[in-house]
Symmetry: C2
Subunit: 185 residues, 2 copies
């Protein structure tokens, strides 16, 4: 038996995106967003309300970074989602986030988060969503395996659960893509 | 130290979406897609190539379902991603997927996958992406907790790892959203 819940904005997994931007004075900011994903090859989409400082910053600078919140920074990631730089001057300091400027775009990379997409604003699309081109992916060496590739078991990215309002850690590998299904062919 | 990887379509977590549709004869189909997410309140976005049977079906019927692949159906989920209904007549039978028609939209719900979004096509947007309105969320009772809500620990949704080409299970709860961050205020 199935139960109907009606219209709900539920999705599994939802990401925990920490969007990094500079304001008009070059001051770094970050916010937590769950509504976003891949829009096309090398492109991301973000659904952000107009009122966010981040939305204004993206339009001013034409750039942003997307870091993925990890299990080691749940408190910090949640903090930047519940406090706005519109009314908290020292938001980044209170979050404990330190930044360096991206080499590729006019946006800050958050040192504490080990994986970031460095994005140029392509446009605000017909529905008001932010479309960005991924011009570089940068990863801290701490999450790389011996081959120099990203190891998701080291990254420990988290997901947002929209029903229980919790954060969930990505866990163990359960299969191989483009491979396991071949046994049914 | 950080390592630069250049332009990559990497994202954590990426979902494993099983998109269910009917063709012009009412025959059910399903495909696996990782490029999609929440587009707005009650709306999803899917980035699907034109050539997919699913893309054609969505345009014909104006409807689709999005089920979330779970750890119990990794093989089946992978299979519908590597085989096309364009050249495999009995794709759903080989996948072992059985369907019932949604009560709300002209699209099939896959019985074996316990959580589905039932969506009406809103439009194909300016960039060719599918935008759907979630008109109902239906969940099998097996993934509900005692309060009748979805329990992500029972759902066991999986994520696609675009770097290692593996599937990863969502694991343990690591925090409370809109709450844990308050300790930094």
């Amino acid at each position: 038996m199935r139960k109907n819940f009606g219209k709900k904005t539920w999705f599994y997994p939802l990401p925990v995106l920490i969007v990094g931007t500079y304001d008009e004075n070059g001051k770094p900011d970050a916010m937590n967003a769950a509504w976003g994903g891949i829009y096309d090859s090398n492109q991301v989409v973000l659904c952000l309300s107009e009122g966010h400082k981040t939305t204004k910053n993206i339009k001013i600078k034409g750039a942003f970074t997307v870091s993925f919140a990890d299990a080691a920074h749940v408190v910090e990631a949640d903090y930047v989602g519940i406090v706005s730089a519109n009314d908290t001057d020292n938001k980044m300091e209170k979050a404990g986030f330190n930044t360096i400027k991206s080499e590729y775009v006019d946006a800050p990379i958050i040192n504490e988060l080990p994986l970031a997409l460095e994005c140029k604003l392509v446009k605000v699309n017909e529905d008001g969503n932010i479309i960005g081109e991924i011009v570089n992916v940068s990863a801290d060496e701490s999450i790389l395996n011996n081959d120099g590739n990203i190891d998701p078991a080291k990254l420990q990215a988290i997901a947002f659960d929209p029903v229980q309002n919790t954060y969930i850690k990505l866990g163990e590998k359960v299969g191989n893509a483009f491979k396991d299904g071949a046994q049914l062919i």
